[in-house]
């Protein structure tokens, strides 16, 4: 069972109070994009053994979407952060580097 701290209401929320929103930091490709970009936007997802970035919603709570960085192997949570960003903030990346030196995820490291 995961416990994630919602950065909007500041509470540690039980997994059963949250709604999972899939992979974080996807860039949308719509009409006019190439077939390859559109296909990877619809179907291409990371399936890492280790560091992963996800979207979650404080569903039974303040109702806001937020981001979470965690390890899919140990369930360790590196941190949660605002939904209003295109990539993880430096503090989150640093927290991951401390525990998982040399980590990469898509084009982040």
């Amino acid at each position: 069972m995961l416990t994630l701290n919602c950065p909007y209401c500041g509470l540690d929320k039980d997994e059963t109070e949250l709604a999972y929103g899939g992979e974080a930091h996807l860039k949308r490709f719509g009409p006019g994009s190439t077939d390859e970009d559109f296909e990877s936007y619809i179907f291409g997802r990371e399936n890492p053994k280790g560091v992963h970035f996800e979207r979650w919603r404080c569903a039974s709570g303040c109702t806001k979407w937020f981001h979470a960085a965690r390890c899919t192997v140990t369930m360790e949570v590196f941190g949660t952060y605002s939904a209003q960003t295109f990539e993880p903030p430096k503090a989150i990346k640093d927290a991951i580097s401390k525990k998982r030196p040399g980590w990469t995820w898509r084009n982040f490291s």
Partner: protein, 180 residues
């Protein structure tokens, strides 16, 4: 829903005279804080806080949502007044009194009864007086706060009020003490 009450580990009573007004907008903005204080007589609470005095108060629901409490009879006029006063501010004001149900729990076991239903640590070190907790109880969304160490109020959608009264009563069933 009629008046009803269940007496067990705590007394569960439906509160029928609580007016509720949802206000959405930037709660950190000066204008909204000033107008809500003028309307209720209490300060805008901090994150996840409940400032309540009698039937009036403000609940912090999210960074851009507050629940204004007022006596039921005053709520429609107060909502209209707030709407006027916030007409030049990016805000939404709706009287939701008829869309919500409120329950009051009274008794020394109040923290234990809440903890049976919600994934929340209700220990006094974690859940302080004056803190609002939005969460779920059983299958439905709700918000609750402690008015004292022996009383709490629970708000949920009125459409699930029967369910809420049922699970609160069952969590308060005599003989089901957490620490007997």
């Amino acid at each position: 829903m009629s008046d009803r009450q269940f007496d067990g580990l705590v007394s569960v009573r439906q509160v029928q005279d609580q007016g509720m007004i949802t206000v959405r907008g930037d709660l950190k903005g000066k204008k909204i804080a000033t107008e809500l204080k003028a309307a209720t007589g209490v300060d805008m609470p901090a994150q996840m806080g409940a400032s309540v005095k009698g039937a009036s108060g403000i609940l912090w629901m999210s960074p851009d949502e507050a629940m204004v409490l007022a006596p039921l009879g005053d709520a429609p006029a107060l909502a209209g007044e707030l709407q006027k006063k916030l007409s030049k501010t990016h805000a939404l004001v709706v009287d939701v009194s008829d869309a919500r149900a409120v329950f009051e729990l009274t008794g020394p076991n109040v923290r234990d009864v809440l903890a049976k239903l919600a994934p929340v640590d209700t220990h006094p070190d974690v859940l302080a007086l004056g803190a609002l907790r939005r969460t779920r109880m059983g299958q439905v969304a709700c918000a609750f706060w402690l008015m004292s160490d022996t009383s709490a109020r629970v708000i949920c959608f009125r459409s699930v009020g029967d369910y809420m009264f049922g699970i609160l009563s069952s969590a308060a069933a005599p003989g089901s003490e957490v620490f007997a």
